[in-house]
Symmetry: C3
Subunit: 425 residues, 3 copies
């Protein structure tokens, strides 16, 4: 016959499979198939269709945003254009539109009285205690200027103006050293309400590095004249990249008066969720708008948004002076998020295997019913479980009479196993 | 003998394992081992070696980027240095190099004619309809200036210049209120082509917070003189943090003429992929370059990149005037991404368990073959499946004669089971 | 009787479960339960309690940061306020506080000598070789200016100043064309050490889009007066959003002298880790501080942080001149990270199923012991494995005598199976 194959080779190429007990019971059979159906439905509907378990997912979206604001407003009898009210100017994903300003003209280094009520004083001592504080427009000199000098235009060395000891105890202001005159931010102009009609053009290009797919937030078919005339609308113009500030404020229920006077923060979220199994042309963003400071809406402190900047000038004699601006602005942040999925054989196989394995879990459920709550529970138990115990002494030789002992022991098999819960006999 | 152990204790410390059927068949045995081998190979090669399934992964890379541009160009007979052409100046991860500008000098608040052809007019009516639009350099006053007044230098109150009813119907321009004279962006200078020789120094430090590992994009061994003389090259100088703009443009097949004239957006991607099981010195970045606007390359609208900014001056009498710049620039965005992995016992165990479980799945495959397509399929079926049915009435007492009934029923066992597909007998 | 149900229907609603062998052995039983206990403990303690395996996790945290610096310093006999030393001014998450400057006043376009020693020359030839380099303050004209002209104030066309052939071979400087006079950065002022007392107010609002939860970094209950007086302290004032620069430097062991003189980069990390199963009020951030350039601490090159910017002026005759600033600054980057978890039935079920499946893995471990290292290993083997082989010829008809053949073959069953490792008999 054929040459003798070594024993360990035949042993190795042996196939081992679980021995099964088949229960012909309508009740358990129906339950079993029903549970299996539920599991299969769960995998098809949730894991495959909803969670896209067969797709490889790229969450490392790379994004670049360019913005351009257009519109003309007027503030303080000046016409304001983009170069005046957009900060920073270069059209990044985070920018501010200045809507209101407290302007302090012609500040020079020197000494002058403070403007805030916190720096009211009657004696020099009042002006020494707050020395270390960071509140205030300049470094306190420790002098209290009594003669209510509010409009110091020629801010020359004012150290000579000492506390005149007048008997009326009239309130004065502490003297500071720094940029003079000090800013008085209790006065502000009429906010630039034209911001309502301003438009923001957003050009967002993203890339999913895993799939090397690049997409833009408006299709190539859009031409310049459409862009110049359209306004974003989620229903009628979802691909128009022009957003009217007034529309955004309306969607957020934000009062124009309040935000133009005190500033605010608005988020423009661009969400990309792409299924690259379909045509890449279907990979388009969704826009929505948020109040970035909504977490602070009940907060008493730090309302609105403002910042200070200065324009520096130099007079003919070389003296530097500046115009300080406390600017109240609407700050826009373009927040891009998203992910993309594409069929890939590896996650598909893994999910498929998980699905098959999970279908087997119906058995666990049915075993609990069968072995505990079913009429013939004990019969099934006897059939499902074969018992081995105390046979070590009886049968020393390998594999002799083992089948016999099973039969004998089988009769007393009533182990309730892992799946029998809370049942005594 | 030993004290009696309660029954539920002995029942609890019982060990239950699946009963197996061993099939001594060469064909199925070889298939079984082959499928198992495939699964093991898959886990070793893909899951462990490629996907690093034994590692804990940190994807929350924290990054800080500082950039510094060097180079001298000339534009408009001026030598331009870093302070002139880099916006914003402080060396952030996103910056622009201005290569071309439309400069409108000495703008003051006042009235003057528009410059764009869209604002050509013959009567005042032509200038009223576009009132609400955001296109234009100022707020339309509704007046049409007929006498082709292109060079308005003394922009004083020009409200007196009414529509002179001349019979020639010569075209005029609508009058605006705002910064005058209005910008005429049809004229632009010679782009600063020296940008080709500019260098960008990138200092990128990253941190993987999970492992508390910090890395920089160039090794500590690099000294100042090397940095001043090297140029990044993926092969010859992969650790040199100096990037020549010309090299980047060449790699992107970007024409210098086009990008310097109209601007553009370029991404410098720094990708960190670190295996911290090896020496941390091997954790180094890879650089690559992308067109950020590649998604818009077929788009008709919004080519290039430009933004407007102004320099503000004040004359001796306190009048503010400004120089408006429409700047065409190359915008660079440094995009840092990456992740790090390190051996961790938890994911290692999880993956190992998954591997072992998956090896068992070979059984599913072999069962399908064995029970359906194998010569002795019916024999195996009879062996693998034991049937229980209709025994509830016959055997009421726990576990009596169960073995007998099996024998009887076993003879008719021809259940096709879960794994028997499409087979009739 | 009941109407006949088709055969394939009864076959379909059959329930199939694994046949088990129950081993009544104390040793293996205890090992089995112990391993199961370990697995259960692992799942409870690690997977559920530590890794929150029952929660859906949102890692796509959306964040907006607003900062405001307060404090007054003095540099160069000038009082510096926020508008002077914070760049950029609008309070973004990345900003710099200028602490030291090299100021070059009244630069105009023209020709003048270089200032750096690298541009020392004796003949014109010395000034031609470095032509292509990007080091230097202007474009080299190729002329060597011998007469140590260091203070060129009237930078008119200086082309007439040729190399006077003086015999002393005194060293000169190469002439450049550009902004003149050239910057001499070997001289710098006294750093603004008051930065130590400056405070940074951080307003960070985050959003977990998956759960639509918004949070701020300080509670609504905090009022304006508390914010104006508090200082962040991890123990005593963890909710105070005011950070003193000196405190941050102290925590980082950063010398004030060094960082104010040469600049530096500091990261303020805000970490949100929220368990939304508890009250959302418990979702609060943790702050910690890092040296962003710690990866470069052993590096010889590129210490500190500086950047150049210019203030532009225009004289009455329309000539543009500027003041160049080389600013050494402390750069702060607010880095926000975090994730949130919330109970969700899907991950809970998946983890639960994984736990149950894993408990079954104890069997694998115990089978190895039982079949290889246990006293009665062979008995168990005989009991666990039933063998089928060579029966194909003997029994052609479906399911005839199969039980008999098992009995016969069962006697020689000594397969070592998958789990028997390295054992001969």
């Amino acid at each position: 016959m054929a040459p003798k194959v070594p024993h360990f080779v035949t042993d190795f190429f042996v196939y081992e499979t679980a021995k099964s007990v088949v229960v012909k019971s309508w009740s358990v059979g129906v339950i079993n198939r029903f549970v299996q159906l539920l599991i299969i439905l769960y995998f098809i509907c949730w894991v495959f269709l909803h969670e896209k378990g067969h797709q490889q997912r790229d969450t490392g979206i790379e994004s670049a945003v360019i913005t351009k604001v257009k519109g003309l407003g007027s503030f303080n009898n000046h016409v304001m254009d983009v170069a005046d009210y957009v900060v920073p100017s270069q059209g990044s994903s985070s920018f501010s539109i200045i809507t209101n300003m407290v302007i302090t003209d012609n500040q020079m280094q020197g000494r002058c009285p403070e403007t805030d009520k916190k720096f009211n004083c009657t004696t020099d001592d009042d002006c020494n205690k707050n020395n270390s504080s960071n509140i205030g427009n300049g470094i306190l000199t420790g002098t209290c200027l009594i003669n209510n000098v509010t409009n110091v235009t020629n801010v020359t060395n004012s150290t000579n103006s000492t506390n005149s000891t007048n008997s009326t105890k009239s309130t004065g202001w502490c003297e500071i050293e720094g940029w003079c005159p000090a800013e008085d931010d209790s006065f502000s102009g009429t906010p630039m309400k034209e911001v309502e009609n301003f438009t923001i053009f957003i050009k967002n290009s993203i890339r999913f590095p895993l799939f090397d797919v690049s997409r833009g937030n408006f299709p190539s078919s859009i031409n310049q004249s459409y862009i110049q005339n359209c306004n974003f609308d989620p229903v009628h113009a979802p691909f128009c990249p022009i957003f009217k500030v007034g529309d955004i404020l309306k969607k957020l229920n934000q009062s124009l008066d309040n935000i133009t006077a005190y500033g605010g923060e608005i988020g423009i979220n661009i969400n990309w969720k792409c299924n690259l199994d379909y045509d890449v042309e279907n990979c388009n963003p969704k826009y929505f708008f948020t109040h970035l400071d909504s977490a602070f809406k009940h907060s008493k402190a730090s309302k609105g948004y403002n910042f200070r900047f200065a324009k520096y000038y130099q007079s003919e004699d070389g003296t530097e002076y500046r115009t300080l601006h406390k600017a109240y602005a609407i700050r826009f942040e373009i927040i891009v998020s998203g992910n993309a999925g594409k069929f890939n054989v590896v996650p598909f196989l893994i999910t498929l295997v998980a699905a098959f394995t999970s279908v087997g879990l119906a058995t666990v459920f049915c075993d609990i019913i069968l072995l505990n709550f079913h009429k013939g529970a004990d019969e099934y138990k006897a059939k499902k479980f074969e018992e081995v115990s105390g046979i070590v002494q009886e049968a020393k030789g390998p594999c002799k009479g083992s089948q016999m002992s099973i039969k004998v022991l089988g009769k007393t098999s009533n182990d309730s196993g892992t799946f029998s819960i809370g049942r005594q006999e």
